[in-house]
């Protein structure tokens, strides 16, 4: 209770101070510019916002908002997935006056963002990657994500054509559904070229561990993998190490081709600018923000890096054909008959899970052909 009292006092002080400042400002500048809808939007990143990866992709999306009239963007980087993120959200709301907040990291959702939703019912929160559920979560919360597994499928198509050893490598952080879907999609893309291809996965256990990611990449190359991709926050180390060992790489999160121009095949990139503009347009127009937003290549949420110089003719053709198929929407990566690498049936003959299928967001298996384990 004291906590709440302190806060309301702080809010009171802040409001009166802001009022005084506003009075002063209008006294000093009698002709002040009036905005149709002034709003502050907050972005919170778990790592540095120029990491060639996850956070950079979000920061590029946030940067796209900065030109919009009346919109102020506030950002904070390197915020851990602990009670720290609650403090960051509180200060964005209380000190910067943010009315819409995007906590972008997976671990921010529960319990941190949900706690803030209860505390500030007038502020809108939209989380990247979380599972918003109408029956469990407040209406000022929500989540958005993209079907980037499609991009990893396309990565796999190019990798399948390029690999000579028929062994692919995947450096993964944690066995959560999004990561598992990416690994499975990468392998299934490659198997659409040659069903004998396998993919070795190594989990590092953390989103960002530079030395372990380098070790994992070396171990994969040692075992004969000649195309490497990853799902970690910053693919920089994986891309540079793999290219240094002579392996090809497929990118993730953002475009890493400047790091390895010769060895970079293609990459699955986010296009958050599109998503953030959509939310902010709604905010400016005063329409309620959607609570559950998903989209794929066709919706412009996800895009592919331009194909690199090592991509051959056949790979190019199949890439274009598959991309065209995906642009129609509703493409199914997971379709029967398909077994997990433990032998369990995950899709029966004729059964298919299109990209929009909600079952994919609770994936807990690796498909046949992936060498690795989820625990």
């Amino acid at each position: 209770m004291t906590d709440r009292f302190m806060l309301s006092r702080r809010q009171l002080l802040k409001t009166s101070a802001a009022g005084a400042a506003l009075g002063l400002a209008s006294a000093a500048f009698p002709v002040s510019k009036a905005f149709a809808a002034a709003a502050t939007v907050g972005f919170i990143y778990v790592g540095p916002k120029d990491d060639y990866g996850y956070n950079q992709a979000h920061a590029e999306g946030a940067a796209a908002l900065k030109g919009i009239e009346g919109i102020t963007v506030v950002e904070e980087e390197n915020v851990p997935e602990t009670v720290d993120v609650q403090k960051t959200m509180e200060s964005m709301i209380n000190l910067d006056g943010a009315s819409l907040i995007f906590p972008t990291s997976f671990g921010y959702f529960d319990p941190h963002m949900l706690a803030m939703c209860k505390k500030f019912p007038d502020v809108q929160f939209r989380h990247c990657g979380g599972m918003w559920d109408k029956t469990k979560h407040p209406m000022n919360a929500g989540s958005y994500f993209g079907y980037i597994g499609m991009g990893q499928y396309l990565n796999g198509v190019v990798a399948g054509h390029t690999s000579k050893t028929k062994k692919l490598g995947f450096v993964a952080a944690k066995p959560i559904p999004q990561v598992l879907l990416n690994i499975n999609s990468f392998l299934l893309g490659a198997r659409s070229v040659d069903p004998a291809i396998t993919c070795q996965v190594i989990f590092t256990g953390e989103w960002s561990l530079a030395v372990k990611e380098a070790e994992a990449t070396n171990a994969l190359v040692d075992q004969g993998a000649d195309v490497i991709t990853c799902h970690v926050d910053s693919p920089k180390v994986v891309v540079e190490t793999a290219a240094g060992r002579g392996a090809f790489v497929c990118g993730y999160h953002a475009n890493q081709s400047p790091l390895a121009p010769e060895k970079y095949l293609t990459g699955a990139e986010w296009n958050w600018a599109k998503v953030y503009k959509m939310f902010v347009d709604d905010l400016v127009a005063g329409t309620p923000l959607p609570n559950f937003t998903r989209g794929g290549l066709a919706d412009g949420f996800v895009k592919m890096s331009p194909l690199g110089p090592a991509v051959g003719e056949a790979a190019h053709k199949q890439f274009d054909a598959t991309l065209a198929e995906m642009m129609k929407g509703g493409f199914s990566v997971i379709k029967g008959p398909l077994k997990s690498n433990k032998g369990a049936v995950v899709a029966t003959e004729g059964q298919a899970f299109p990209e929009t299928a909600i079952e994919l967001e609770s994936m807990d298996y690796l498909v046949e052909g992936v060498v690795g384990s989820t625990a």
Binding site: T204, A210, V211, A216
Partner: protein
């Protein structure tokens, strides 16, 4: 390309390669800390020095296109951090551990601040010497690409081990570390000796940082260290303040760290979190096996604030 399949041999190979690749920052930071602690002070700030050294080396290497100038810059920056710690700690009632923690946060923060513009550009790497030329297996060749800093670290640990026993400077550091009163009686100024010892320790930690950003993993990011500086400080106690022990412990940690990825790569995929804990389990076992209720830690300098 018959040689691409190394199969299960990949595991010992990865441990060997990992020991050589991963251990170098541990070697330099722990040798630096060994010198500092032998003089009777603890500098916990070496994690910050490591991160700042990594940034300084990378930034200077980008600007001058010379990794060696980067290395010198990292050592210089580390020296400054060390001297700063040593200078503050000479004032009465100053706690060296608290100052160390403050410097750890300060060093990382300062590195993040100055390092922002250097995340994107690419710096030239420090050279490696290929010792694997005798083998035609590419995996062996890759594992035996040994960076010059690793060799320097190995030689340095032998020199330090010898110097602590046989040189005047080594004996001065040890007497100051074991008893300030005895040192003063001999006409030595403990504060000056500790100032210099902490400065040298900082410079070595800076070099460890240069290895991280200029060789392996070989790029500057804010997450480059992930706590290696702190682990290296702990290694010194594990190594009983013996430079040769520091070198061995660093190799052990490097090799054990490579175990998890290597086992997963050959298909041992269950329980990888447990394999990642291998270095720490190993530490616990050795600590328990070598501890004794009847005597204090063997080799601990008497003036160290944790043993007093």
């Amino acid at each position: 390309m018959d040689a691409t399949e190394v199969g299960l041999w990949g595991v010992p190979l990865a441990i060997l390669g990992g020991a050589i690749r991963v251990s170098t920052p541990f070697i330099f930071v722990s040798l630096g800390e060994a010198i500092t602690e032998r003089s009777g002070r603890i500098n916990l700030g070496l994690e910050g020095t490591l991160v700042f050294g990594a940034m300084a080396a990378y930034a200077v290497a980008v600007m001058t296109n010379s990794p060696w100038l980067g290395l010198i810059a990292a050592a210089g920056a580390g020296l400054c951090f060390g001297l700063f710690h040593g200078w503050i700690c000479k004032f009465p009632k100053v706690n060296d551990i608290a100052i160390g923690i403050a410097l750890m946060l300060f060093g990382s923060g300062l590195a993040f601040f100055f390092g922002k513009p250097f995340i994107k550009p690419k710096a030239p790497n420090l050279p490696a010497i290929p010792f694997g030329g005798w083998s035609d297996i590419p995996q062996v060749q890759a594992a035996l690409d040994v960076n010059v800093l690793f060799l320097i670290g190995a030689v340095l640990s032998v020199i330090l081990w010898w110097a602590f026993r046989n040189t005047r400077a080594g004996l001065i550091v040890r007497v100051v570390g074991d008893s300030s009163d005895a040192a003063r009686a001999m006409g030595l100024d403990p504060d000056t000796v500790r100032l210099l010892a902490t400065g040298v320790g900082g410079a070595l930690a800076g070099i460890g940082g240069a290895y991280l950003s200029l060789y392996y993993p070989g790029s500057w990011t804010e997450r480059i260290s992930s706590g290696q500086g702190l682990m290296a400080v702990a290694l010194v106690i594990f190594a009983r303040w013996n430079p040769l022990g520091c070198f061995a412990a660093a190799l052990l940690f490097g090799g054990a760290g490579a175990l998890g990825p290597a086992l997963q790569s050959v298909g041992v995929t269950q329980g990888y979190y447990l394999f990642y804990a291998a270095p720490y389990i190993l530490t616990l076992i050795i600590m328990i096996a070598t501890s004794s209720p009847t005597r204090s830690l063997a080799g601990a300098p008497g003036e160290l604030s944790i043993t007093k």
